[in-house]
Subunit: 359 residues, 4 copies
């Protein structure tokens, strides 16, 4: 399998040098520092460097290629707690420009977005804090970000009392529907689309949060059931049904993974389901990931896009790029590089037609 | 806050040396190699070394302490894909000895356990494989493990056809109920409790998989709904309801995290919910984690147990230990160390009373 | 030690809210995407986000503060193989602007700089290559960079033959002297100062490479000794002597670590030696590190700057920042941010007076 | 290059199933927990699991294979600060059993070994300490290990005063010679060979520490030169000369890397030098590494053994294994597994003949 025979042959026939010349073609080009260089330009220059710097440029390049496709659905899988980290408006921008079409994310991300959309704040803190002292003060820590626990409590009460009063009993909701209603409320109350939820509502970008129960949104709705004898149903089977339809019906699909976890697996899985449903053996056509999860631990979070190809989740001919870097560095850089490169673009994504939710 | 005043004082009063002597008390003890040393002994010796070696010993020590508690619920949060990695019987052992009382895990872990319980195999592979070639052969890769895609397909069909025929329409299932039924079927068909699902069924250890839809179990049930017009409901709100009750009612609770992800967050969250429900401000009393997720990326997966204390998820007086190591190294070592140390023990865990599921 | 008493007191005296308000003061501010934002601006905005994004901004901030000091020596510790990765001109820029005063680096970095200064190239490659095939073609791989082994061989011959003919027998060289001579040759032959070695020569920035023997420069000089019966002496004790003098005599010192390894340890150590020599108990006054080495493995490479404070390597009042990120991402960003922020600055660093080397 | 043609062919010719069967041959075997299992047995069982657990077993397997070779030199590259972490006697054991023949290590490792051989101790500490407080008490921290700074100071004085009085002026020492003299002194004074230095002296295992100046041994010798007008010379070129001779003259060579850094690069490099010297294009025949350094950052420390093959550092037919794990976990496990497996073995390694050092 290692081409030994073929290589021996060309060595003998003096073709070796020609092959070598073909491989050693594009030198790495040292970056020159300029005081007012914009982000887009720098990232472009990084494409001729090496290691994760070059990979970051490749992520931008592959994501940008997706926009050239006429009929494509672009998935964003967003793990972690990006909103407390100041990534909210970047996501809003990507939604408005329609640089993505469907979002799958954690309960944390939608909860914290809701929190900020309500006017609350996350605060600059320190990861060297004494957590016992913070506990006494009612301050919750997320690495180097602080939040006021009381404010979280107020939001949880709002979800249990106000938001749940707008949900129907006995109806089977998907997380997408829950988040669409939440987005609509936010949008109608604030008329601004800076939050992820309201921007997504306004621009008709569905948000799935398959593990939404793994957050205060989930447990606050549960409390409505438990304490007010409601019968709100969140049928997570509906999440798979709806999300898999997106990939099944897409001519082409691209995926952008920021971190791993459920969001990545969930989107990867839609390609497997699509194959089962349609019989077409075709994975996602474009794939980028920005992550700090490593492949050697064997988990899906850190798995390479290549591994995904063995499963048919990523297409064998897919354009791919992986950059190992913290999302709070990657997202701002990649978003600004795309913004510079596609300044004039206003992409029109697909409009998904879901059955009406509100009675 | 840095005790400057106090320290200046003691320096002046010559108490410095006394304090230093108190701090420099226990030397690290070099390990001596013996040919037939058993795992338990070696891990014990590692408790007087340093870095992650010592931490591994601390994990064993803290987990072992949980068994001394009369009334405690021990949670296991298990991320990743541990079954293909040969960890199935270790989990079976921990269940049988009742070294844990409740499991929260990924869809992958229960799916792969089911697969092996059905007599199927995962295979030794290589992480240097050409994934395009594997695709052509119908081989799915998980880092250095291979599996036959056709066998997965057969299992998916079994779930859609056979298993779903035992589920009721219109009933709201939690993932625990689904997995209990699955465990019962396995147990009754095989009469052995080597698989996680059947052992858990037999020993009355509930398994939650809050993101079970993020697996082939989930999408195969969805296909039953879609293709056979079934109306199976997996209400994920019920998962929070049931799981939070466990922590609410427990006198004490201990948590064991193998990796991060949903399992860890879900279990952490039960302490927050318990506080909301009961008004008692009390986190988990014992906590260990074995993980390769790092704190600096700000996500919950890598968050320190100390960070959890600021939220009240982990109690301020909790016994804690964290070891940064791959689970396929940690689990066998820790399980054997516990096994050696508690050879005679047959712990009796709490029996959870859930309402009947089968009509 | 956990302030329990003090905190209980303030809780009782209702001062809790005041303290909380003081801690929760500065919210994280979401970044807004603008198409032509320059790097400096973006990094500044990242200072009000979180996780490693914010840390990157802090690195720029602390490094920038060093320039405000009148009498300071700024050390750069540079690990890895940054030159093949296109970082050569960034280093040249930092030297020219005198954003650093002394460099400690690996043999690899000076060797590859020499290689490129000679007009040779490193090439864009792939980390998915078949290394056996590359071997057959005479291509050396550094992750995703390729180089022509024959060209390396030619350079090694040049060092053994030409360069060594300019070195004296029986004289005890430090690595700094070797590299200064190399820089002078490069500068005089090319009259340009784009390479690290020639720029450093021209701008009188000394470069230490304490493990220079751990590179082809080292072994090629050894071959001159072995094959031509030369007696070139590289007394590594002289490296410590010279380098420690720098910190001993500096009023203030700042350190910039890109990666760990010998460069970091060597610079840390100068503070310990300075204390032994001068009796002044004072560590480095400013310290930043950009690294992918983690603290939990217990090594010096990944050790926190705080750990360095226990040793007195970093001063207890030092301004510090650590960002966990690949250097090929960090260096371009940080250099451009500094460049934007200190556009007009031409810092004058200290001039070191070393005894004459050439005869 | 992806075998497309060949694979299409076999698919058409129905050979696909045969190939698949050949690939899916060896299932992963779940480990069964037994209370008194010894380490060797457990590691053996891990060879049929997956991820880093299996890799650890492969490390043992490949290292063990080296012992079957009649004429082989086994190198150990040991980074970090393993002695404070309680690894001293494990290294002593490996030396006594002659499971290695030459050591390349950091200045830290030999310094801390000397420290403990002198009867001093490292102490169990905590990585959550306040380093400013530790500084005030004169306690140096290495992650979770503490040491008394005064004791270090005393040792440094001993090196400067006593040890240096046994070194000659004007003689060009290699680090190996310095460490051999140190080992001899320790051995003669203590008559025990539990320390790495004295065991290595007694068993004629040379130790190189190419960056020994990057430690308190180095700077204390420097102080002898500076303060007592000595002229001790540590010619690091001699380190390359001596070390490369080992690989040049070896029929076969094996390498064991615990961590990366200079030790790894230095040993890798001997294969390149050997080729230059002898014209034989042959890398190390066996290679294992246990490390937490990752390949994606492009540095030599984290580089794969495969990457080393492109350079000819590792032979194209070499037996190889890499395990990503902290050394304080890996070393005890691997040493005990080897000890169990080769209980009766007393390997006779090669005896190196160096010119006499003492006049």
């Amino acid at each position: 399998m290692n081409l030994e025979f073929f290589l021996n042959y060309i060595i003998e026939s003096k073709m070796c040098l020609i092959l070598k010349k073909k491989i050693l073609k594009q030198p790495t080009i040292p970056i020159e520092v300029k005081p007012k260089k914009n982000v887009d330009k720098l990232i472009e220059e990084m494409s001729l460097t090496a290691f994760q710097g070059r990979k970051l440029a490749e992520v931008v390049e592959v994501w940008g290629r997706m926009f050239q496709e006429k009929e494509i659905v672009i998935w964003l899988g967003l793990a972690g707690a990006m909103i407390p980290a100041g990534m909210r408006k970047i996501l809003g921008y990507l939604i408005r420009k329609r640089m993505l079409d469907v979002i799958v994310t954690t309960g944390a991300n939608v909860y914290h977005d809701l929190f900020e959309a309500m006017g609350e704040k996350h605060y600059i803190g320190s990861h060297f804090s004494n957590d016992i002292d913070l506990k006494k003060l009612g301050i919750d820590r997320m690495y180097d970000v602080f939040a006021d626990e009381n404010k979280f409590y107020e939001l949880d009460m709002w979800i249990e009392e106000n938001f749940c009063s707008q949900l129907k009993d006995n109806y089977q909701y998907s997380s997408r529907e829950i988040l669409q209603i939440l987005g609509q409320i936010l949008y109608e109350e604030t008329k601004n689309s800076e939050s992820v939820l309201s921007a997504a509502y306004y621009h008709k970008v569905p948000i799935f949060s398959p593990a939404i129960c793994d957050s205060a949104i989930g447990f606050s709705i549960m409390f409505a059931n438990r304490r007010k004898k409601r019968n709100i149903i969140l049928n997570s089977l509906k999440d798979i049904d709806e999300s898999s339809l997106v990939t099944e019906k897409a001519k082409k699909s691209g995926v952008v993974y920021v971190g791993g976890g459920i969001p990545k697996n969930f989107i990867q899985q839609t390609a497997v389901i699509a194959k089962y449903q349609t019989g077409h053996d075709k994975g996602h056509d474009y794939a980028v990931q920005m992550t700090t999860d490593m492949p050697m631990w064997g988990g899906l979070s850190g798995s390479t896009l290549e591994e995904g190809q063995s499963w048919g989740k990523i297409d064998k001919k897919a354009h791919k790029a992986t950059c190992y870097v913290d999302a709070t560095i990657a997202l701002p850089l990649v978003a600004h590089a795309l913004s510079g490169r596609f300044k004039e673009m206003q992409r029109k994504g697909p409009i998904f037609k879901w059955k009406k939710i509100f009675t």
